[in-house]
Every structure is written in structure tokens, then in C-alpha cells.
């Protein structure tokens, strides 16, 4: 009789120990029931604490959407997403160390990894999707529907009037609306067209730069002779007022982006580090949530899902970082 009682007590103790094991402090949100084959489930109701993220204006609408969903499902804490450009976002993450997550529309540079290591952060990469950079003109523009890279180079550098690029086009000034010099979109465009040289594009006449893509959209809407480029989502959102150009005869679409035939497609990333995710379990929760549901949201925001392999790698990165933490 006594033995049974002792066994029962032991069992109970072991049980409570086990259950304690499955919800270490801060990780009460981890649930067995998961919508993802790899990652643990996230019970948003039990996530506590704030999250700070900043970076790419391209990733911004996607992150906003994921935050909205995270909150809809019960997250009560405060979460900030600042749209300041990839470079600035990575600077805040790697140099100042002010943020938990950096949003980027380009891969982290080795110099940035080094500065992050100096403040004790080992950047961890999560691929979340693909953006097709949209080169857009006004809806009422009738003379251009397609451009090859050579024409794009001229349009965004030395050509003053449209007729300088193609004599059949009107003798009107080209009005250019481009993302600011610190945005990943700018870097990417310059790298693709001008081999990292900023001088041609920044020396162009009638040039307007802004980190706010809505300013660019508004500018292109404003004149039939305007042209701009920005993340595909901003085109998608304003497609009743804008017209997207085909590049080398290929229009951006889910198919051409996945097959990599559209020449201006680029990856989107989140960066964090294992240390931050372990110290601030809410960051790990948000990232797991993000990776689990991103493909359900990404199309309606206006971007394209990452290749299955890349997303799987991101989830594996999460699992490796959190091994034994919860």
C-alpha cells in the first residue's frame, strides 16, 4: 500500500517535472499542436513581452500583415516594425543593437556580420519570400510596355528625354522616382543595372528619391512621363493607377519569378540571432509564427513565396538556434 503511494508521488513529481520541462520560463507558448511539420506550434495568447524590428520598406507590408495576424490570434505585447530601409535596419541590428529583428531585401553583408559579432550577435538568416522589383509607369502611358536592361540603364541615367532612349518615344523629360540610397531596393537595382556604381543613377536629372514607396507611387501616378521602381507589393496595391513594364519581354508574375526568368526578382529576409531568441522567447515565438504562416499571406500582400528549400532552411535555422531551449 505504502509502496503504491510512494510510486504515485514519484510519478506525480516526474509528471510535474516533465510538464515543467515542456514549458520553461518564457516558453509557455510552445504547443504540441502545430500547423507546421517542422516548427513547434505557437500559442499567441501566451506570448509576453515586446518585440522591436526595423528595416526594409519592401519587407514592411509583409511584416505588418504577419504582426496583424499575430495580434488577431491573441498576442498582447507591443511590436514595432519600422520602415527605414535595409541598410539602416541592419545598422540598428548590427551596430547599435537596438532591434531584435532586422528586415532586409538583400542578404546581409560580411562587414555587417562582423559588426554584429563585435556586439555579441551572430546574425541568423530567415528567408521569407521573394520580391519582384516592379518598374512602373503611369497607366495613361501608351508608348512603353517593355524595356530591356540597356534601355533601363539609359532611362535611369543619362537620357534626359524619352526620345533620347528611343526616337519613337515622346520628346518629354523623363521624371524619375526611385527609392532612397539606403534602401535595399536601390542597392539591388544599382547592382543589377550599373554594377554597384551609384553615380549614373544619382547623376540623373529630374530625380526624386524617397524611402517612402507611397511617395514614389504618387509621383508616378502624377505624370504620363514618370517612371519609378519599387517592390511588387506597391504596384499590386496601386495597379489601377500604374502599369508595370516587362523586362526583356518577361512580365513579373508568380510563374516567372519562380522560374527565375524575370530578371529583377530578389529574396526577402529577416535577421535575428540565437542569443536574442533565447533571451527573448517572444522573438522566437514571432519568428516561428512568421515562418509557419508566411506562405498563407505573402501572395495577398503582393510578393511571391520563397522556394520550398529556402523556407525549409529558414525553419531549420530556427530549430538549430532553439535546440533544447524549450
Amino acid at each position: 500500500m505504502e509502496k503504491v503511494a510512494v510510486a504515485a508521488v514519484l510519478l506525480l513529481a516526474a509528471g510535474s517535472l516533465l510538464s515543467a520541462q515542456s514549458s520553461k520560463k518564457g516558453f509557455e507558448w510552445v504547443t504540441r499542436q502545430s500547423d507546421d511539420p517542422l516548427l513547434p506550434g505557437v500559442n499567441s495568447l501566451k506570448v509576453t513581452g515586446g518585440i522591436i524590428s526595423a528595416g526594409s520598406s519592401t519587407v514592411y507590408p509583409l511584416s505588418e500583415r504577419m504582426v496583424e495576424r499575430f495580434k488577431d490570434e491573441g498576442y498582447q505585447g507591443s511590436i514595432t516594425v519600422d520602415s527605414i530601409g535595409s541598410g539602416a535596419g541592419l545598422e540598428r541590428f548590427c551596430v547599435a543593437g537596438e532591434t531584435d529583428v532586422a528586415n532586409a531585401s538583400r542578404a546581409i553583408k560580411s562587414s555587417e556580420v562582423e559588426s554584429a559579432r563585435k556586439i555579441g550577435r551572430e546574425p541568423l538568416e530567415f528567408r521569407i519570400g521573394t520580391d519582384a522589383l516592379a518598374v512602373a509607369v503611369n497607366k495613361s502611358n501608351t508608348f512603353i510596355t517593355n524595356a530591356n536592361k540597356e534601355e533601363l540603364r539609359l532611362i535611369f541615367s543619362t537620357a534626359r528625354k524619352w526620345s533620347d532612349v528611343n526616337p519613337a518615344w515622346p520628346k518629354q523629360d523623363i521624371l524619375r522616382f526611385i527609392p532612397g540610397t539606403d534602401s535595399g531596393t536601390f542597392d539591388y537595382f544599382v547592382e543589377e543595372l550599373f554594377g554597384k556604381k551609384k553615380e549614373p543613377i544619382l547623376g540623373a536629372a529630374n530625380l526624386q528619391l524617397s524611402e517612402d514607396d507611397n511617395v514614389l507611387v504618387q509621383g508616378v501616378e502624377g505624370s504620363p512621363y514618370a517612371i519609378g521602381f519599387f517592390g511588387y507589393a506597391y504596384f499590386q496595391e496601386n495597379k489601377d493607377k500604374l502599369k508595370v513594364l516587362s523586362i526583356n519581354g518577361v512580365a513579373p508574375s508568380a510563374e516567372t519569378v519562380n522560374k527565375a526568368t524575370y530578371p529583377l526578382a530578389r529574396p526577402l529576409f529577416l535577421y535575428s540571432s540565437a542569443k536574442i531568441m533565447r533571451e527573448k522567447p517572444q522573438v522566437a515565438a514571432f519568428l516561428a509564427f512568421y515562418l509557419t504562416y508566411v506562405n498563407e499571406e505573402i501572395r495577398s500582400v503582393g510578393y511571391f513565396p520563397a522556394e520550398a528549400e529556402a523556407l525549409k532552411k529558414a525553419k531549420q535555422n530556427w530549430l538549430d538556434a532553439m535546440k533544447g531551449a524549450y
Binding site: G85, A88, G180, T181, K198, S210, G219, S223
Partner: protein, 297 residues
Amino acid sequence: MQKKLRLGELVIQLTLLLFGVLSILITAGIVLTLGEESLRFFASGEISIWKFLTAAKWQPAIGEYGILPLASATLMTSLIAMLIAAPLGLFVAVYLSQYATPRVRAVLKPILEILAGIPTVVYGYFALTFITPLLRLVFGENVVSIYNTASAGIAIGILILPLIASMSEDALGAVPRSLKEAAFALGATKLETSLSVVVPAGISGVAAAFIVGLSRAIGETMIVALAAGAGSALTANPFRSAETMTGYIVRISGGDLGYDTVDYNSIFAIGIVLFLITLALNIVSRRIVRRFREVYE
């Protein structure tokens, strides 16, 4: 009679002195920071003061540091603002101080002051979504860019109108009655009296009002950031986009530049230029008040 030391009085005096000194210290602090950071810009060796003031291109990311395009845009928006606010403000002041009955005045003045209370961001969107489309309707879509200095200038003009009107009104109201009565006695009409006697007599105050308005227009930020454009351009056409000094500062300080880079320090160099311009204007306005003040009686 012996002076009695009263403790309460002393405490009050010291407190007031403290606040006075504090405001001086704050000003000194701002000047010091501005000076230090902009010195760093010129000390970096990449740019000489001469080139900074004369080069015709501003594009820090590729090493072009000529303040002219920014300064010309600031000049453009401020001049347009003054073209609107100076005559309007003066006429409003003449009307309010010479013509309006007390009842009309009691209604008009608060309404005018409401204009001054509208946040500048509202003016910015007013320029972008109302004035610009109006300009494009009148002058044609291809003539007027979506972001342009004319629209921003007009909005700034409306913004500084109440300031100029109420300062001018004070100046005109201070003109002694005897002068007006003398004019009337000579058979001058009300209009003649207002324009040839009252306005000249109050001209020092009116000029000071114009200059304070001008320096407010030069420093205005939100309206130009929203409506004037986001890329520097040296142009004399008010219907093209051009970025002003304040517009550039606010765009660049939006968190997208590394600390202690040349581009970052460049915004302080622009800041100190702005500061010097408004300081000079304030000094000029004080001079004018002193020199041209007509002393009667």
C-alpha cells in the same frame, strides 16, 4: 530707508533668473552642437567651404556637396510664400486696424488666428491634394509636376499670413490717432489716410513682420517635405520639383543614415546655414525697427 531683505522675494528673483539663464544655455547648446557637427563635416577634408557654397549639385551619396540647389529651392518656396502673404497680410492688417467695426473685428481676428493653429502637416497635405491639382488644372498636367515648389510656397504663404497680418496690425494700430485726424482734417479720404499716412508711419513694424514671416517660411519643414519634392534640383521653374534645405534634412534624418558619415554630418552643415540665415534676418529686422521707427509726441 533701509532695504529689508525679504526671503520670498529673493527666491522668486532667483527662480526667474534661473529660467532666463536656462533659455540662454539651451540656445548656446544648440549652437554648439550644430557648430561641432558641421565642423566635422568641413574637417573631413572631402569638401571645402567654397565648394559647399558654390557647387551646383547636391548628391551626398556620390560626393556632390553643393548647397545651391537646396538653397535655391528654399529661396523659391519662401519668395512665393512672401508674394502671397506680404500683400494679403498687409491688406488684412489695414482692414482690421482702420476699417473693420469692432464687431467684425471680433469675428475675423479669431478666425485668422485659427489659421495659425492648423498643424503644418495638414497644410502639407492641403498643398499636395488641393493646391497641386488646382495648379495642374489651370496650367496643365505636363507643365506642373506632382511635387512642385509653387504649391508648397502657396501653402507656406497661407501659413504665415496670420503671423504677418497680426504683427502688422499691431504696428498700424500703434500709429497715433492725432496723425490720422490730421490727415482727415486736410480732407484725405479713409483710403488715402490708410495708405499714405498710417502705413508709412507704421512701416518699421510692418517690415519687421515681413522679415519674421520670411524667416518662418525659410524654416518651414513639413509642407516642403510633403509637397515640394524629394530630390535636389537647380531650377528656376516653380512648377518643377526641388528639395529645400529643410526638406533634405528631414528626409535624411528619417533614420536612414549611419552616424558620423559625411552625409550625416552634411545635414548639420545645412542646419547651420539655415540658422545663420534666420539669425541674420532677425538681426536685420531689429535694425529696421530701430532705424525706421518714427517717434511721435
